[in-house]
Symmetry: C2
Subunit: 348 residues, 2 copies
């Protein structure tokens, strides 16, 4: 991958598309000079909008299609009848080597189904996973799977560990991220068969992963590890529970500051510091769920995000391209194969 | 159950036992006049302590045993060799009808194993579950299972729904609690086989449960339903993730108030309101995980709780006794059986 990636954009996906998509892409151009875009969508709508962003227009090729995937389209329907949709054409551009990655704020299920069908999974990976990063006490961590695979066996979990490790190195810039397996306790005998078997394999001294061991739910926000590995059912529930709890806390705090005149005065004095706190937890900073395990880079922005959030999602795709996510992963997969084949691993 | 329950106390369980246990029991006597206790533990230690709480001493019978279950005892070991432990004797008192419920802050695994062995599960319940309640936007909700059963089938989940429903009516005083099944999406086809099959059965119009349908992780803190039903793996991760996120948020807020002189002044003005916020979220208010599905009432207090937390755990046991938890549950179990046997349910 050269230093200047080209990103394919589904300009029609997301609640505030296409305006939010173009505005976000324009912010991304400012942050990442040299970035180029292939923009897929309805040209009569996009052309006048793009004219408002001359910096973006100068680095974008517009590809017209009148079709788009709707938010309530079933993945199977989108896959069958959406071959000319803006989402599909953007993914095709990655498969054809015209773009280095694709970003869409459209229908998650359709994007996953199309990306899997068009890009295919990498050799050594049985099923792709959805990953995202989130704020912790220590900074930021990565978690996967967040819902692509409701049921997972030990092989899936070990592969997720590899995917998360390569992602944390590419996007968080960590040299040797620690990886933890989410469980209901830290002891060896805890959990179900899948996590116990995956743990045994990740403890293999030849494994390319720096494996911390089992972690529990409270280790996620504590940032005990850089990469949290779990099945898609548990991961989806955990990430939504954390988001909901943060939201509840914010609401409780806002109502506390309305509680009395004294509290309102207190808020006036503290508001600058509290704004910094809100920025630290701003969900737009953590926008961009990534589909890992495919032969290409595909990032899903939250459907209701604004331009800033979309620019951050593009930033994730750019980091993965520039920092060689796919190459790092291929090396890890080979090392894992070698570890499994080594004589001392045979007993595991 | 008459209006004045007798609670068996494991006086030796918990980091701050036995002082915390007796102080907590004394608070509970003040809150629930007429309450009586059977106190199990080391008499030479307990007798002089009890003398400091004359109100408690007047309603307590002390039963000496020098043995106790340690925090790192394996459940199987505690079960085999702890027959004269304060924990076991307190549970035995419930089985023998001498007490209406048992409260312990000791080893969770040992307490569950002993309670299951001594009290047995109720007819119609295959496996007991651990339940607790927690703060939400709307007030308080109940969640189960929190870790007793790492893998659950549809029968288990349906039974947990019944247990949670009876618990919410007894302890939260709700007339017709709403019950939700935790999943990765609200649509019928989402999730694994167990949640889909359980959902079909709970939708049976003859079922005694007011079933809301599937809920997601963010519905837990939002308080979308009064009772959250899930398997022990997901429930354990979700509750610990929520606790950890709340803790992280509190720390971030504390550091925001230290950020500048202005923020410190703001804190001084707002501190009364912020103290109310902390009280609203005080984990001691939500102390007491309950073992549901047994032929008796067993409440596990957090091991590191203080007297106030222990008094609240006793309060949960008292509410369950006074409000006829076991009787409500028996009625529900019969109605569920009838619903499953009804002709219109045969197709499900």
């Amino acid at each position: 991958m050269s230093g200047k990636p080209t990103i394919a954009l589904d300009a029609m996906g997301g609640a505030h598309a296409p305006g939010m998509v173009l505005r976000g892409a324009d912010m991304a151009v400012q942050r990442h000079p040299g970035l180029r875009f292939l923009v897929f969508g309805d040209e009569p709508v996009l052309r006048p909008l793009l004219a408002k962003f001359p910096r973006l227009a100068a680095v974008s090729d517009l590809h017209h299609t009148a079709e788009r995937v709707l938010d309530d389209d079933k993945p199977s329907v989108a896959l069958r009848s959406g071959r000319q949709s803006s989402m599909r054409l953007a993914i095709d551009a990655v498969a054809e080597g015209l773009a280095d990655g694709v970003v869409s704020a459209g229908n998650t299920g359709a994007l996953m189904a199309m990306a899997k069908f068009v890009l295919k999974t990498l050799p050594g990976i049985d099923r792709p996973a959805i990953a995202s990063f989130f704020p912790t006490r220590r900074g930021e961590s990565v978690m996967l799977d967040l819902g692509a695979n409701v049921e997972c066996d030990a092989d899936n979990l070990v592969q997720f560990a590899l995917l998360g490790d390569a992602f944390a190195r590419s996007v968080l810039g960590l040299i040797e991220p620690t990886v933890g397996l989410l469980n209901v306790g830290a002891e060896d005998q805890k959990g179900n068969d899948a996590v116990r078997a995956a743990s045994l394999r990740l403890r293999n001294p030849l494994s390319p992963i720096r494996f911390h061991g089992f972690i529990e739910g409270d280790d996620i926000p504590a940032g005990t590890v850089d990469v949290v590995v779990t099945d898609g059912f548990t991961g989806n529930v955990a990430v939504k529970t954390a988001e909901g709890t943060a939201k509840l806390f914010t609401e409780f705090m806002a109502s506390a500051f309305r509680y009395s005149l004294s509290a309102r005065i207190g808020y006036l004095f503290a508001r600058h510091a509290l704004r910094k706190l809100r920025m630290r937890l701003d969900p737009r900073r953590y926008n961009g769920a990534v589909f890992l395990g495919l032969r290409g880079i595909a990032v899903k922005s939250h459907g209701s995000t604004d331009a800033l959030g979309f620019a951050n999602a593009i930033g994730v795709a750019v980091d993965m391209c520039v920092n060689g996510f796919l190459d790092r992963l291929r090396v890890d997969l080979e090392r894992l194969d070698a570890a499994a084949a080594a004589p001392q691993a045979a007993a595991l």
